[in-house]
């Protein structure tokens, strides 16, 4: 009986995802293989959500969504020319639908089942470790130029990629390493370049994002 009730809830959540989320999120794959398809995306891909997100983060974000991509999915749709260059056109960015706690818990559990990329995740071994914020920043800004596209605090960095000051709370560490190692393996048409980051530096980025996330906790 309990099993029956449980599976009915699961079916209900699946229906809800299809009805209310599939219009903007790709829940089933395949991934966008052409620029046209990549430009048409109205929200991030969710068909590999179980390989990417931390479940507890999904539950809390879905109840109180905060902006992650300062210039939206494709920055080109959300910028306008200004006197000293292109600027974000905030009026074109919409707020995300928020769910109740029960809905968020159920939908997060449903999303976490989407795991087509266990193979990519299994290749990553994250060693425990730490790094000073200064050294992390040096790597991120000066040596690897990641700050061009990513914010590492609300007031510093670039805008075309997702902010990374909450990355460690949002993302599984193996996903972070795997995506930086080869962004095209996840999203063939992504506007993030493969910078050929070596293993040791990948580890340092993961540790750096942990430091940043702890700091953004204190700030709140």
């Amino acid at each position: 009986m309990a099993a029956l009730v449980f599976s009915c809830v699961a079916i209900a959540e699946e229906g809800r995802l299809q009805k209310e989320c599939a219009s903007c999120h790709n829940l089933t794959g395949p991934v966008a293989q052409t620029l046209k398809d990549a430009w048409a995306r109205k929200g991030p891909d969710m068909f590999y959500a179980g390989n990417k997100y931390r479940q507890e983060w999904l539950v809390s974000w879905l109840q109180k969504p905060q902006r992650i991509r300062p210039a939206g999915m494709y920055y080109g749709d959300h910028i306008k020319p200004g006197p000293s260059g292109d600027v974000i056109d905030a009026a074109t960015l919409a707020d995300h639908v928020a769910l109740s706690k029960d809905e968020a818990v159920a939908i997060a559990a449903e999303l976490m089942k989407n795991k087509p990329h266990d193979d990519l995740i299994a290749r990553e071994k994250i060693e425990p470790g730490t790094i000073t914020k200064q050294m992390g920043e040096m790597n991120f800004d000066k040596f690897w130029g990641c700050m061009a596209c990513h914010l590492i605090e609300p007031e510093y960095g670039g805008f075309s990629g997702p902010e990374l000051y909450t990355a460690a709370k949002r993302l599984q560490p193996e996903f972070i390493a795997s995506f930086i190692r080869n962004p095209q393996a996840w999203e063939p048409k992504t506007w993030m370049p493969n910078k050929e980051v070596p293993e040791g530096v990948l580890q340092k980025f993961v540790h750096y994002f942990e430091v940043l996330s702890k700091e953004s906790d204190h700030a709140q």
Partner: protein
Amino acid sequence: MLNKLLFVVLLACNVQAYATTTEAPAHAREAAADNYKAYCMQCHGTQGNGKGVNIRDMSATPRDHTDAKSMSVRSDETLFKVIKEGGSSISKSILMPPWEGTFSDEEIRDLVQHLRVLCKCQFGS
């Protein structure tokens, strides 16, 4: 009969040749413009003048691709190299990323030609 067949085959070949010499470049030009819009515009700007949405905190300014003066001192080979391998390959800023993991050599050659359209210039002119 054989003659007729040969004629049809030749005609088909002609159409084929026509398609590759005139339509393919147009298609390539369009694809290069799209690639520029998706990948380069975030830093080099909607106008290609180096004033993209990302530049606020960057320590080096992206090249103004509409500036014939600075673009004409670069050969097509150098432009190809800097797009494929990134700024550091020609002793320029690492903020200019390598795009080898994103594009084929063919697509990079088409991007070089797109830059020539933007600057309305050639190497040495």
